[in-house]
Amino acid sequence: MKTDGTTRIYICGVGGQGSITAGRLLGEAALAAGLPVTVSEVHGMSQRGGIVESAVLIGGALSPLIGKGDADVLLAFEPLEALRAIEYCSDRTTAIINTRPIVPFSVSLGQGKYPELMEILSQLRGLMKRVAAFDATSLAEQAGHAQAINAVILGALARSGATPIEENALRRTVVESVAKKNQETNAKAFSLGYKALAGQAE
């Protein structure tokens, strides 16, 4: 299939991590930059610690969904969910992955085993153009609040250059999306994410 000038960003994580907000912020930033954008979210059952997926399409596509193997960017807030999202990726995909696992409760009940992180990353690296993996949760905590993971991830995305949104535009949206008292945390988290990617081998 031909490219259509649209950047397709697949976002996945666990309920409560703020991955839906990340999608919305990307959408806001795209809109502010005058780019056509579609953001889709799944609500409902996913809120209770389940899997949360969303899709952001920047550049004119109308579809709210991303086809299999068709994501240009994967933003994974959790490593197991990154692996589960592999079917949306290809050798064109740039992935930004939070390496901090959230072990599903089913594992504590003995229903399945959480894969080794190295195993997850090597599978993803074997497929994709670029995989940037780092502990975004601790960077968020370092910035001031674990809830700032989305700012960290979006900072890394800005550095990756994988979307048509400029760094400053994305940073502004991320910072201004929260109440004044939390803006410093978000700004710091964004910068830490940005730097984390700068430190990764290209």
């Binding site: 299939m1 959408g27 056509p36 596509a61 086809g67 592999i86 409760f105 003995g110």
Partner: protein, 1144 residues
């Protein structure tokens, strides 16, 4: 100001639902009602927040029917109205909707239905386009948020123009998609109306309904005509391939055409006004194309309309879609399916390669939040009611309770069904019925079912899970909430008014009080209602603005009773099995004063031992407490797995073991010890062939071949134990046995009334099926030697040749006919070759062989049998129960007697004996017999010598293996290593005659030693850590407590007179009831009580297992404290109390 009310000169990124709100506000909406349901919920949420500011009437109605009726009334009075609901909500509202179509409206009236293809958060994926047809109601379908914004106004205007209700249908991917929307200005709205009476219209009695029907038909025709020319429907493209689509599917179509580069080959008709179907428009389209693909989600509704349009147009073009198999009627559509269908029909090579998701990833289902009061209610109900009842659920957060670990909820179909279907089940089934229903759901439609169950006298316990909000959809209020201007409807009053007499209200966070309340309702007849009231913690914080709880909890690892011994090679996966018995937890929840029952002891045991004495005393280190607890809980398969993991001959050992575990049982200190071995027998007897095969398969799946061969000499317990362990470690094992049957001493030394051949064969077959090969009639030293085996390619040898040689008395007359060593006698007897013999028999010795020979002699017809022993009964090494059984069968025991010589007297014998007395203890710890002057003669017909065995050393082939003065081979008990490289030894041959479990232990350690010697990488060898039983038994024990005595259960036995008549097994098996009762006497003194209660019965997601321990994630913990009451071991404590632990 609410952002949806503000003026915006730049486009907004709006969700479909938000776009509808804004569009409605701009179009002058005056009345909005809804019942929340995903994916429509945001509409209600935002109106709830800003309706006062916007000046709009808004209500969260009791249910969708009510919502539709109120909005319809507002519209009848001329006020523009919107009623919003999820697709299944329309089912509830369908009754008024169908007739509303007849009577119509005056102000604009729009029903928003949000369909959920793919069942993202719904119980079905019904296609609500059918409702438009059923009710003859116009329908518009947006594709994007911008569309939705525009179409709500169109819908209201259409409604007003034709005085008809209009349905606006979204789907999840419209409702929950955000896109750019350029908004306009808010217009004036009318919120007060006047209802102008028109009885010929608004009172549809049959005569009037009949008159309204033609109005509907006429309206249909007019609207269809208008739709044929509506600018909302668009056509574009060129070429002879036609696509007809509607809703979100047009997005997939548009993108796919662009990416496939087929703009010049396809012509698209996008319908927005999908009902009444613009048939002329479709017929015209048909004329322009040669083939048509219909792209729509769910049912082939548009597809059939296109087919019928072909007929009308008189042009039969092929129509593709669901019927042709290009699309599925299941689930939602996406770009993949659209591209695949178009690619196939247009002959394009799409070449899609996509990586697949690895299989076996752990699932991440949604789960009730930490501190959710529903979990606490479920726990208390489960504790009080057990697994017996039929549990029905309903729709809400609590539906998640049907999943593990709570697992309550086996049936529900729709909102409110639990109250009514509970009555139905109660009417026709025998189980007690418990129905769960949420507060909002109860108001929605549970109350009618409750009234029905009361009126029909059903036996039903209805649990109303009252968390004061509508949790699942985002904390919308319901009629039970008091809000300014909205008085609360009291649940309990309402339930009582419905005729329920037995009503209890609990705070589920108080487990004990909840348990008592549930138990008081448990066995009452009729309808009982339990109102379990505690607000949803998220709602409490966000809406009620209650302060967050400060306390966090942690697990005191010293008190937690999860097994911590996984490191010792005990591959116990068993604590992960569902916990069906709640005895532990019940004990804690009901603790009272006075002597403690087992349950209470378990709940409050002061310390836990790393190695409870039963396990510490077992030569094999069997997890006795573990399998006993499994038996107590009825988990027999798990109990057997735990036994089999360390015990090679379970069917044999459970009959013949001398059970040192029972001697040290802590219950035995203030009561009788637990009947451990009989419990093992009980659970092994219940093993079926299928069970055995399943376990064997499980073992084999885990076996990795190492490609090396090991020879084992002797198929007795020690040899077989070594062979099995080596096999499991991946070696090819061949056993060389001198006799013609396997089993060694248990086959030939133990009489059949103790060990039926059938039991032994089960064990031997298992070993054979595991792949251990046994060669019979091959005696070591003559038929096989070290040299010959090494030549045959065996990498190592294990010598388990046993002690088959009798120890002689060394007195005169020992070789007289009629004097026989007991072992030879037993061997002949056990082969079934012994002749019946009357007369009087003497047996010399005090061990098990002496008892066995005595009891065998009685069975063969001896008139009397007397055992001569030079010490007293107390010093006899034989198993206590065996001594007692022998005496019951008539065996006499003559203590403090030793024979000095045997003489022939006619055709009889006479043993000349001497009386002894006891002196100081010798090195064995037993008091030494000292000769006295008293002598006497005992006449007899036969005399059996049973004073011990010795190793029958082979004539040749021991090489460098040393042996001691009793002929015992010198070997290291930790590895079986001898002086000869790669030759190992153990069992009776090394230790001297000992117990079966002792022999098995030798084999186990030798297998480890051999693996260490042969493995390519000794680091990877599974360690069999050395267990020093005496050392293990030194661990401090819990202080004795005032324990309620519970007598040891007795298994049935053959009465002595029947027992001595043959060789039938004397000991019977426990009944199941007795076995469980006996197992429950276990005090679970050790760390592992196979307790996994917090994970398996409670299941708070703040809990997790790591490195064999249970922990609480302080970030997820919300401080509700229910787990403190749930833990049967008192192991959950506030975090402050062990701050150091929290830090680590």
């Amino acid at each position: 100001m609410h952002p949806l009310l503000a003026a915006h000169d730049r486009p907004l990124l709006l969700m479909g639902n938000e776009a509808i709100i804004r569009g409605a506000l701009e179009a002058g909406i005056g009345f909005v009602s809804t019942y929340p349901g995903t994916p429509s919920s945001e509409i209600g949420n935002e109106f709830f927040r800003m309706h006062a500011e916007a000046g709009v009437h808004f209500e969260f109605s009791t249910n969708e029917k009510v919502a539709l009726e109120t909005a319809a009334a507002a519209a009848a009075a001329g006020v523009r109205s919107l009623v919003a609901m999820k697709h299944v909500g329309v089912n509830v509202a369908a009754d008024p909707l169908m007739t509303l179509s007849y009577v119509g409206v005056r102000g604009g009236f729009v029903l928003l239905t949000a369909d959920d293809p793919g069942c993202h958060s719904s119980q079905n994926e019904q296609d609500n386009r059918h409702f438009a047809r059923l009710g003859k109601i116009p329908m518009l379908e947006p594709a994007t948020p911008a569309d939705a914004y525009r179409l709500i106004r169109e819908a209201l205007e259409l409604s007003e123009k034709y005085e008809t209700p209009v349905i606006l249908r979204t789907t999840t991917r419209v409702a929950h998609t955000r896109g750019a929307v350029r908004v306009g200005v808010l217009g004036d709205r009318r919120t007060r109306g006047v209802f102008i009476s028109d009885k010929k219209r608004f009172t549809p009695v049959p005569g009037i309904a009949k008159l309204r029907h033609p109005v509907v038909e006429k309206r249909q025709a007019e609207i269809e005509e208008a739709f044929n020319d509506s600018p909302l429907n668009r056509e574009w493209g060129e070429g002879s391939f036609g696509i007809v689509t509607s809703g979100v599917s047009v997005c997939y179509v548009t993108d796919t055409i662009k990416r496939l580069g087929i703009e010049d080959r396809v012509r698209v008709l996008h319908l927005v006004t999908t009902y009444p179907t613009p048939r002329r428009l479709l017929a015209e389209f048909v004329q322009k194309v040669e083939r048509i693909l219909v792209v729509e989600e769910l049912d082939p509704i548009l597809e059939n309309e296109v087919r019928s349009a072909c007929t009308r147009a008189g042009k039969l073009v092929p129509v593709f879609g669901k019927e042709s198999g290009h699309f599925s009627p299941l689930g939602e559509l996406g770009p993949d399916q659209t591209a695949a269908a178009l690619g196939q029909l247009l002959g394009l090579d799409l070449k899609t390669v996509q990586p697949s998701v690895p299989t076996g990833l752990p699932a991440r289902p949604p789960i009730l939040c930490p501190a959710c009061p529903h979990r606490a209610t479920y726990y208390a109900v489960k504790l009080a009611m057990g697994d017996q009842p039929l549990y029905l659920s309903d729709i809400g957060c609590y539906t998640l309770g049907f999943m593990p670990p709570i697992g309550l909820g086996e049936y529900f179909i729709c909102m409110g069904s639990s109250a009514s279907s509970g009555g139905g089940f109660a009417a026709v089934t025998d189980k007690p019925v418990v129905s769960f229903i949420g507060d909002s759901t109860f108001f929605h439609s549970g109350i009618t079912g409750l009234i029905n169950s009361v009126h029909n006298r059903r036996d039903l316990l209805l649990v109303v899970l009252d968390n004061s909000t509508t949790g699942m959809t985002g904390h919308q209020p319901h009629p039970g909430n008091a809000l300014p201007g909205h008085p609360a409807v009291d649940l309990e009053t309402m339930v009582r008014a419905a005729g329920v007499e037995q009503v209890a209200t609990i705070n589920p966070l108080d487990t004990r009080a909840s348990l008592e309340a549930i138990e008081s309702l448990k066995n009452l007849p009729g309808v009982r209602v339990l109102i379990s009231r505690s607000p949803c913690p998220i709602y409490a914080r966000k809406t009620l603005r209650e302060p967050a709880r400060e306390t966090r909890y942690t697990v005191d690892q010293d008190k937690c009773r999860i097994c911590g011994r996984e490191g010792m090679g005990l591959q116990c996966e068993l604590h992960l099995r569902p916990h069906k018995d709640y005895a532990l937890a019940r004990g804690r929840a009901r603790a009272k004063g006075g002597p403690r029952t087992s349950e209470e002891y378990l709940a409050f045991a002061p310390i836990k031992m790393q190695h409870p004495p039963c396990e510490a005393a077992c030569p094999l280190g069997l997890c006795v407490q573990g399998y006993i607890q499994h038996i107590a809980a009825g988990r027999y398969r798990e109990a057997r797995t735990l036994i089999r993991q360390r015990l090679v001959l379970p069917h044999t050992v459970c009959r013949v073991c001398h059970h040192p575990c029972e001697v040290v049982c802590i219950r035995g200190e203030s009561d009788e010890p637990l009947a451990i071995n009989r419990l093992k027998r009980f659970v092994m007897d219940r093993e079926t062939d299928e069970d055995r095969t399943a376990y064997l398969t499980w073992l084999k799946e885990r076996l990795t071949e190492k490609g090396k061969r090991v020879a084992v000499i002797g198929a007795g317990p020690s040899g077989l134990s070594c062979a099995v362990d080596l096999r499991l470690r991946g070696y090819q094992v061949e056993v060389f046995e001198a006799e013609d049957e396997a089993g060694g001493m248990v086959r030939f030394g133990i009489p059949r009334y103790r060990l039926p051949l059938e039991a032994l064969r089960k064990d031997l077959n298992f070993i054979r099926d595991l792949g251990v090969e046994i060669h019979y009639g091959r005696r070591f030293g003559t038929d096989v030697t070290q040299t010959s085996l090494k030549k045959e390619g065996f990498a190592a040898i294990y010598l388990a040749i046993g002690q088959q040689g009798p120890v002689r008395l060394g007195i005169e007359g020992e070789d007289l006919p009629g004097v026989q060593d007991a072992l030879s006698f037993l061997r002949v007897t056990n082969r079934g070759e012994a002749a019946r013999q009357g007369g009087e028999a003497l047996v010399v010795g005090g061990g098990n062989t002496a008892i066995d020979a005595a009891r065998a002699a009685i069975r063969l017809g001896a008139r009397s049998v007397t055992i001569l022993y030079r010490r007293t009964r107390l010093e006899m090494p034989a198993i206590r129960d065996e001594i007692a059984a022998a005496e019951k069968e008539g065996v006499q025991i003559l203590e403090l007697t030793e024979p000095l010589r045997i003489v022939q007297e006619g055709d009889r014998l006479s043993a000349h004996c001497r009386r002894t007395r006891l002196g100081d203890p010798d090195e064995s710890g037993r008091r030494r017999p000292i000769p006295t002057d008293e002598v006497f003669d005992l006449p007899c017909d036969r005399l059996f010598v049973a004073i011990g065995q010795q190793t029958a050393l082979p004539a040749d082939g021991l090489g460098q293996i040393a042996f001691d003065r009793w002929g015992r081979l010198k070997a290291d008990p930790r590895t079986g290593a001898t002086g000869e490289p790669l030759v190992f030894a153990g069992g009776d041959a090394a230790s001297g005659a000992a117990s079966v479990v002792e022999a098995l232990r030798w084999g186990k350690y030798a297998a480890y030693g051999i693996d260490l010697a042969l493995a390519d990488d000794p680091q990877k060898v599974l360690i069999e850590a050395w267990r020093d039983n005496k050392e293990l038994l030194r661990e401090p024990q819990p202080q004795p407590v005032d324990l309620e005595r519970e007598p040891r259960r007795r298994a049935p036995e053959l009465p002595p007179e029947k027992a001595v008549a043959g060789f039938d097994e004397v000991e019977g098996a426990f009944s199941e009831a007795d076995a469980i009762a006996e197992a429950r006497r276990c005090l679970a003194c050790g760390v592992c009580a196979v307790c996994n209660n917090c994970l398996e019965n409670f299941g708070c997601p703040a809990f997790y297992r790591e490195d064999g321990q249970i922990h609480i994630n302080p970030i997820l913990c919300d401080g509700c404290g229910v787990c403190v009451q749930v833990c049967p071991n008192g192991a959950i404590v506030p975090l402050e109390m062990s701050a150091s632990e929290a830090r680590s």
